[in-house]
Symmetry: C3
C-alpha cells in the first residue's frame, strides 16, 4: 500500500486522463442535442434528413470516446473516482447519445413528415438537460464547486420530470386525436425515444450524485 502511495506520487497525471474524455463525451452530447433541436425546427424534410445524418456521425464519434474511457480504465490504476463510477458515468453519457440518435433515426426510418410541438418541446428539454450534464461533468475535475454539480443534477431531474409530463400529454393526445393506429404507434415510439434520452441524463446525474456522496 505504501509502495502504491509512492508510485501514485510519481504519476499524478494518470488521473487527468479521464476528465478531457468525459468533457469530450458530454460536449458531443450537447452538439447532438443542438442539431436535434435545429432539425425538428426545420420545415424542410431534406434539411432534417441532412441534420439527422450529422447526429448519426456524432454518435459514432461518441462511441469512440466511450471506448477510449474504458481502455484508459484498463491501463490506469490510479483513477480520480471509483473505477465502477467512471465506467457507469461513461456508459450513462453514451446512453444519452444513443437515445438522441435513436429518436433521430426513428424519424428517418418511419418517414415521419410532420414534426409537432410535442417533439419540439421534448427535443428542447433534451438540450437543456445535456447542457447541465456538460456543466456538471466539467466541475467534476476539481470537486471544488460541489454545489454547482448538485444544482445541475437537480435541474436535470426537474427537466426529466417535465419530459415525463410532456410525454404523457403527447401520448394522451395521440389516443384522443390520432385515428390511424399505425401513425399512433410511430409517434409514440418517437416520443418514447426522446423521453428516454432525458431518463438517461437523469441516470448520469445519479452517478454524479453518488460520486459526490462518496467523495463528500
Amino acid at each position: 500500500m505504501s509502495l502504491n502511495s509512492i508510485f501514485q506520487y510519481f504519476v499524478p497525471k494518470d488521473k487527468k486522463v479521464f476528465f478531457p474524455l468525459f468533457e469530450q463525451a458530454s460536449s458531443n452530447v450537447v452538439s447532438m442535442a443542438t442539431i436535434l433541436v435545429e432539425a425538428v425546427n426545420s420545415n424542410n424534410a431534406a434539411t432534417r434528413e441532412e441534420l439527422f445524418k450529422q447526429i448519426d456521425k456524432l454518435e459514432n464519434k461518441g462511441d469512440e470516446t466511450t471506448h477510449q474511457i474504458y481502455l484508459e480504465l484498463g491501463k490506469n490504476f490510479i483513477t480520480p473516482f471509483d473505477r465502477e463510477d467512471i465506467h457507469s458515468l461513461a456508459t450513462a453519457i453514451d446512453d444519452v447519445a444513443d437515445y438522441i440518435q435513436g429518436a433521430a433515426n426513428r424519424m428517418m426510418l418511419y418517414n415521419v413528415s410532420e414534426i409537432n410541438d410535442h417533439i419540439r418541446k421534448l427535443s428542447e428539454l433534451i438540450l437543456q438537460a445535456s447542457i447541465d450534464l456538460e456543466k456538471a461533468v466539467k466541475e467534476l475535475k476539481d470537486l471544488r464547486n460541489v454545489r454547482n454539480i448538485a444544482d445541475s443534477c437537480i435541474r436535470i431531474n426537474s427537466v426529466e420530470n417535465q419530459a415525463d409530463y410532456v410525454f404523457d400529454r403527447a401520448v394522451a393526445d395521440l389516443f384522443l386525436y390520432e385515428k390511424d393506429a399505425i401513425n399512433l404507434i410511430k409517434y409514440k415510439e418517437i416520443y418514447s425515444a426522446l423521453e428516454t434520452a432525458t431518463d438517461m441524463c437523469e441516470d448520469a446525474a445519479n452517478v454524479m450524485e453518488s460520486i459526490l456522496v462518496k467523495n463528500a
Copy 2:
C-alpha cells in the same frame, strides 16, 4: 481520518436517520398500492378518478422522502450500509411508486372506461409485493431476522413471476379478442406499467439481498 473516527464516536445516532425514511418510503408505496386496488375494484368512474388523484399526491410525497434520503446521504458520513446501497434502495422504492402512479395516470389519460380482471389481478400482485417490501425494509434496521428479509425477497420474486405470467396472458388475450388496434395499445400500455411496478419491487428486493450478502 482519526479526527473523523473521533467525531464518528460522538454521533452514532447518524445511522438511525435512514431507517425511518426508508420505512416512510415503503409504507407510502403500500398506501399507493392499497388505493390502486380500491380504485380498480370500483365501478364508478368518478370514484376511480378521485382515487387516482390521491395516488398522484402520494407519489409526490414519496419523491420528497427519496430526496431527503439523498440529502441525508450527503450530510452523514456514517451510514448503516454502503452509501451506494442506500442510494440504490431509495431509487428502487421510488421507482415502484413511479410505476404505480404511471399505471394510474395512464388509466386516467387514456380515458379507460373498462377495468378488467387482468388489471385487477396485476394491481393485487403489486399490493402483495409492496407489503413484503415494507416488511423487509422494516427488518433492515437490526438485521437480526435475516431469514425474514430473505423470505420477503423470495416472495417478491415469486409475485414478480406471477405478474409476468398474468401480463403474458393479458397481452395474448388482447391479440386474440381486441379488434381495435388503438384500444389494444392502450390496454397493453396499462398492463405494462402495472407489470413493471412488480419488476421494480424485485429490483428493491435485489438491492436488499445484496445488502444481506455484504453484511452476512
Copy 3:
C-alpha cells in the same frame, strides 16, 4: 473475525463453487439460443411449438442455477470477485435467458404463423453473442487469458450493434409494408424481445469488463 480467518484458511475451495455454476448458467443460455435458431428455421408450426416448450423448460433450469449462485453467495465468505459482481453477472445471464424465453413465448402466445428473415437474423445474433458469453465466462476461472475475455466482450458489443441495426430495419419494414396494425404490434414486440436479449448479453459483458478492470 479471526476465527473466520482461520476457517477461511481451511476452505480455500469455496472460491471454486462459483465457476461451475456460472459455466452451467452460460451453457444453458447457449442451449436455449441453439434451440431458438432451430425453431425459427423450421417450417413446421408443431415442431416450433415443441422447441419453444423446450426453451421454457431450460429457462426454469436456468432460474435454479441463478438461485443457487445467490445461495452460495450467502453461504461463502470467500468469493473469487466482489460479491456484487457475482450477483450482477448471475442476474445478467439470467436476463439473457429471460428474454430468449420471452421472445419464444410471444411467438407462441401471439400465434405467429410466419417467421421472417428479421426474426431468423436476430436469433442467429443471439446465438453468436451467447457463444461468446459462454467463452468469456469460462475464462473468468483463472483470468490468465484476460485478452480472450476482452475480445469476447468486444464481439458481444459488436453483435449487439448489429442487432440494433437489424431491429431498426425490421421495424422500418413493418411501417412500410404491414398494413394491419395489430400484426404490426405483434411483430414489433417479438423483434423487441429478441433485440433485448442481445442487450442483456452486452450487460453481462459489461459486468465482466468491470471485473477485469478491478482485477487487472
